[in-house]
Subunit: 270 residues, 2 copies
């Protein structure tokens, strides 16, 4: 991984990747809180092309973007001429939304001959494949998972959400802007509504997947111990995620939490 | 309306229709709370065909189904032979869900030569058409309404919800089993999340429409003063409903409540 640069944003993911491959070159946007890496190369969007040159000079051939990055304000006086020539493309992408911005940034790295890799190429454990990690999902859980997957796919087509909760075929909630935790809290609050329909003490699944057509190398949705706690509090039987499509942060801790709460974790192949 | 029978379930709608056309024959499933109509003809699902005969004998040619009906338990010993012959169809439809049950019941009425009409045929004011009932929606509200309509249409295709909340293009919530009130409470709770993105004190619309392909003669979604209060508490600019697709119960009171809260009510043609 000596030839790999980590473009590190905020959150737990960059730290986990640095632990897995400490020999990577860590790069951060100027202005962000410094990571505890041996050396951090700071860069600015206004001088992106010189940054690409600096990476190439150090023998970097692959880059991995990880963690949330805020859109920086651009200072016109800092641009070099080659980066300035890229501005129309960058600004257009930024105005078209987060996904477009990320696709544009990936495209730029690739134009400058860097290979863009996902977090799973550095630490495969972070992105579990197909299989049950704990617990025992039954046929009703699988039916709920398939129904939820269908709902999430329909929503993805209109660029909404990456998750839904289905219990015995009933859609209890759909993820929107407020996010996963808010949705699971909502289910916990309204579960009594459907209690009469559900014989089992725990029923229903939370299903999580990337948006259809999303580039799997960046910005995958994440699950962790907190998600497990919220899903358990919502009375669900388990969490189903798309195999290879979701980051499982703190895997051991997440699996232990799920085992303790008696809920299953299942990587599902569509 | 002397030749019209009202098949009355629970809720405010049957009462409003009886007030609008008191000469209708009011029919109720045995077991439900009696309505204050001059005469109520009670019927049982197990004796549906004799009930059809009784309607025809009284000169009934049109029926309107209004209000929520619980699925009754069937008592095998009460069936007559002709109704018993219909059981396989009825049971199949009941197991396929609410929409299928209603379609099957409409189909039976039609087979027995009754015309099935919607509540709007009795009281047109109940189902407003296109037009702004109060307030002044702006171009941003229309964009939000179109985005929400697109989301609701995508969800309808997977048989979920009839409503969504969109503010400045952001999907704040999607209606699922817990219903409209629960969704609007959720928006009220999480609105602070997007407050920074929204300059206006009120922004966003709640959009409500029937499911795509739904028979408009039965089971239309409803709006009322309570919906207005919840939408106002959620900080929304207004409520948009599909023209001709939503019941507006207590129209005067609903419009007054919206005017008092400073939010618009808009019947929108897709």
């Amino acid at each position: 991984m000596r030839s790999t640069a980590l473009i590190a944003g905020a959150g737990a993911l960059p730290r986990l990747l640095i632990e897995a491959a400490p020999e990577m070159l860590v790069c951060q946007l100027e202005g962000g809180a410094a990571l505890s890496a041996s050396e951090v190369l700071r860069f600015r969007i206004e001088r992106l092309v010189p940054f690409f040159d600096a990476l190439a000079e150090r023998g970097i051939t692959r880059v991995c973007m990880a963690g949330a990055m805020q859109r920086p304000r651009l200072e016109p006086e800092l641009f070099d001429a080659r980066t300035a020539a890229l501005v129309p493309r960058l600004v257009g992408a930024m105005q078209a939304g987060d996904d477009a911005t990320l696709r544009a940034v990936i495209g730029l790295f690739e134009e400058f001959d860097f290979e863009v890799i996902g977090a799973d190429a550095i630490c495969p454990d972070l992105v579990p494949g197909a299989g049950v990690l704990c617990g025992m999902p039954g046929p009703e859980d699988e039916r709920d998972a398939l129904r939820a997957a269908e709902i999430v796919a329909a929503l993805g087509a209109v660029d909404v959400g990456q998750g839904a909760v289905v219990a015995r075929g009933l859609c209890l909630a759909v993820e929107a802007l407020p996010g996963t935790d808010a949705m699971l809290d909502f289910v916990a609050e309204h579960r009594a509504l459907v209690g009469a329909l559900l014989a089992a003490p725990k029923a229903g699944v939370f299903f999580k997947a990337p948006k259809p057509g999303q580039d799997r190398r960046i910005d995958l949705p994440a699950l962790g111990p907190r998600t497990v706690a919220k899903a358990a509090a919502a009375g669900l039987a388990g969490i189903v995620f798309e195999a290879g499509g979701v980051l499982l942060l703190d895997r051991d801790q997440t699996v232990q939490a799920a085992e303790a709460a008696g809920i299953f974790l299942w990587g599902h192949n569509r």
